[in-house]
């Protein structure tokens, strides 16, 4: 067997103790400066992120009221939650809200991007107008919507209905309207943001593809379905999945529109979401163990959504 190593290496000195060191030690020595620099962050990350997460997992298997010591109860919290009508109602509200918000804000965002995606001044002004709501979020905005949707004659929408001689609608006082009102509020705030994402995505599609398609006689509809949509799929997936995850975690609009001093969730829990229910269990009823279990159920659901995103992304790669 021939030795293929160059002569310079063959005559090299025998391996130094440094080379023989344990891989972990070698890693520590090699990256000591970097490790010293990241240690403060790592410590804070472990203390304030990893530890609470692990602690909440442990608490989800206990009966814990935040004052007395937790006592292990196994899977009781999970069993109780899965049989709890309030949890199921919160889950169904959240799922409806998530689907409605994600689909509508994505579709409207794409539509706006197609209409106002150009470089004309009017397009830029319109984009700024539609993007503004996603900047001006927060509790104040929800309060404004609460006033807009008031069932009374001084609620703006009902005042306008009155001008048209239409009967007032109990937007905030009827179980049927709770989730639709929340979806309207969310879509209004989200569609401008999605529009910007789609504008960026549309600009990444090379113009010569469209030119070639036009020369081949493709109609605008064919160009949209056969070129724009397939090439926009990564953006579409990103927008759809981030909208879904955001909708799953929404708290403020549910809480501020449908909670009062003696109740959260509104009429017959029509405005109860999973996160609001988590808050109710943990901070109004001191059932921290149950709230932790709910947090983990929520986490698993979001994990599944993310996995779906990755899977769809891979399908895209294959295509």
């Amino acid at each position: 067997m021939t030795n293929h190593l160059p002569a310079s290496l063959q005559s090299a000195a025998p391996p130094t103790p440094y080379r023989r060191a344990h891989p972990v030690r070698r890693f520590l020595v090699q990256h000591s400066a970097a490790l010293i620099l990241v240690t403060p962050f790592l410590l804070l990350f472990l203390l304030f992120t990893i530890w609470p997460v692990l602690r909440s997992l442990y608490l989800s298997f206990t009966d814990y009221d935040a004052i007395s010591s937790p006592s292990l109860t196994g899977l009781d919290n999970y069993r109780t939650l899965l049989a709890d009508p309030r949890f199921l109602k919160a889950l169904s509200n959240t799922a409806t809200y998530m689907l409605g918000t994600a689909l509508l804000s994505t579709a409207l965002g794409l539509m706006l991007a197609l209409v106002f995606g150009g470089q004309r001044l009017s397009d830029q002004v319109m984009r700024a107008c539609f993007f503004l709501p996603s900047v001006a979020g927060g509790v104040g905005l929800i309060s404004v919507f609460k006033w807009l949707f008031s069932s009374e004659d001084f609620g703006l929408i009902n005042t306008m209905r009155q001008w048209l001689h239409l009967d007032p609608v109990r937007f905030l006082g009827s179980p049927a309207y709770a989730v639709p009102v929340l979806i309207v509020l969310a879509v209004w705030g989200l569609m401008g943001y999605n529009m910007i994402m789609f504008v960026a995505g549309l600009r990444s599609i090379p113009g010569d593809i469209y030119e070639a398609a036009a020369i081949d006689g493709a109609t605008p509809a064919q160009r949209f379905w056969r070129i724009t949509l397939p090439l926009l799929r990564p953006t579409l997936l990103f927008v759809l999945v981030t909208s879904m995850i955001g909708a799953f975690q929404e708290f403020f609009s549910f809480y501020f529109l449908f909670s009062d001093t003696s109740n959260v969730g509104g009429i017959l829990d029509s405005g109860l979401s999973l996160v609001v229910y988590l808050y109710d269990l943990g901070f109004r009823h001191l059932q921290m163990g149950m709230a932790s279990a709910l947090a983990w159920i929520l986490f698993i659901m979001l994990l599944l959504l993310t996995a779906l995103n990755l899977k769809l992304g891979r399908i895209n790669d294959v295509d």
């Binding site: 009221d65 935040a66 004052i67 007395s68 309030r86 008031s150 069932s151 009374e152 004659d153 001084f154 109990r170 905030l172 006082g173 009827s174 179980p175 529109l257 449908f258 909670s259 009062d260 001093t261 003696s262 109740n263 509104g266 009429i267 017959l268 829990d269 901070f283 109004r284 009823h285 001191l286």
Partner: protein, 409 residues
């Protein structure tokens, strides 16, 4: 040089340790006005005890429970807290508040003589423990537009009669703000009909009694027949000002805010007691807040002494006066005899006092905190889904009894 420096350091350390031993940290639930209401009590106490220092901080209502729990978990934070009525038994039973009945029985016994009975009953545990004392109170009242309702209703029949008259003339009827289409709204009617949430010994739920059914059927028609607004917290004052509503039901806070914030309503509005039900009672729901001492405090005796002073005539009157100067209405729950000091027109004050003498707070039965949602659901099932009052209340009673067993152990 060294010796004086050492002496100076030692003196400073001693002084700071003494000062910290004589410091009271108080967290009060509410907005930035609430510490100002307590300030006269702090000033008077400091006058008598110059060595004591105070730190008084407002805690927003929606964050209070969480902040108190965090303080308990870390065993640091306030020595004294104020909180909503449920906090006393809820936190106290878990060891978060000192049982005042055990540790300071004389203080509890003296407050019992002057406090609002309904509030006191609500915060006294079924085993006699008192983890906190009444701090302030709020009570429901019926507000009305004098130009739209000539004679305020005094009975259930008169109330629905007034609503019929208003409806016939094209006017809207009643807007309920506090407890709208929920258990707090239903509560007074239950009491006025002679019913109750639980029996006197908290051994079983009695909400599904005949009186309960009568009350819920009567209450539900405000929404089904008379189409009252069902939003969570409708703007009663705006409704009255616009003339959209002729009557409104909410807490006494609107007595002050209508006067200061609704000039268009000047001279056009009045208040009356809640209408009398079949049991001959005008009972209104009353809420409020309580004051307690955290179990981990290092200065329990000082905290108890400050609270003791809070109920003295001099301090209570000073606090009411301070609130009056701030343009707000503070009703001392521990000194109901001094509520007359509040800044209100004589006729309104007389009605407020009469309503206070026939008012009741939430029950003190184990598991009530966990059962409120079930009663809320029962009320809403009848109002929105047309479920029979008996069936809905039976369901609520089932949950209440289950929670009695679970939390009464």
């Amino acid at each position: 040089m060294r010796t004086p420096l050492k002496a100076l350091t030692l003196t400073a350390l001693l002084a700071s340790s003494l000062a910290s031993a004589e410091k009271l940290t108080i967290w009060v639930v509410g907005d930035e006005t609430t510490p100002k209401i307590l300030q006269p009590a702090v000033d008077l106490y400091k006058k008598d005890h110059p060595g004591v220092t105070f730190e008084v901080r407002a805690v927003p209502g929606d964050q209070a429970f969480t902040k108190y729990l965090a303080a308990l978990a870390s065993r640091s934070g306030p020595d004294i807290i104020t909180g909503y009525l449920s906090y006393g038994i809820e936190i106290g039973k878990k060891g978060g508040l000192i049982n005042l009945q055990d540790k300071y029985p004389a203080l509890v016994s003296s407050v019992r003589k002057t406090a609002n009975k309904g509030i006191l009953d609500s915060i006294t545990s079924t085993d006699g423990s008192v983890y906190a004392l009444p701090y302030d109170l709020t009570v429901q009242l019926l507000y009305y537009r004098k130009d739209l309702v000539k004679t305020p209703p005094r009975t259930w029949a008169e109330l629905t009669g007034t609503l019929d008259t208003l409806k016939a003339s094209g006017n809207k009827g009643l807007v309920q703000q506090w407890g709208n289409a929920g258990w707090v709204g239903f509560f007074p009617y239950l009491k006025q009909a002679g019913g109750n949430l639980y029996d006197a010994k908290c051994s079983q739920a009695t909400i599904n009694s005949a009186a309960g059914v009568t009350a819920l059927n009567y209450y539900a028609q405000f929404y089904t027949k008379y189409k009252g607004p069902t939003d969570g917290w409708p703007d009663m004052e705006q409704g009255l000002e616009n003339g959209d509503y002729a009557m409104g039901m909410t807490g006494n806070w609107s007595l002050q805010s209508i006067r200061s914030g609704r000039p268009k309503l000047a001279g056009k509005w009045g208040i009356t007691m809640l209408p009398k039900g079949p049991a001959g009672k005008n009972t209104a729901f009353e809420g409020g807040s309580l004051i307690g001492i955290m179990s981990y405090t290092k200065v329990p005796d000082l905290a108890a002494d400050f609270i003791r002073q809070l109920y003295s005539t001099r301090t209570t009157v000073a606090m009411i006066g301070g609130a009056n100067a701030l343009g707000t209405l503070w009703l001392p729950a521990g000194r109901q005899d001094l509520v007359t000091q509040v800044n209100l027109p004589a006729d309104q004050k007389a009605i407020l006092m009469r309503q206070l003498s026939d008012s009741d707070g939430p029950p003190n039965c184990p598991g009530w905190e966990q059962s409120g949602d079930a009663v809320q659901k029962a009320v809403q099932q009848v109002v929105f889904n047309g479920v029979s009052a008996k069936a809905a209340l039976d369901d609520a009673a089932k949950t209440m009894n289950a929670n009695l067993s679970k939390y009464g152990k």
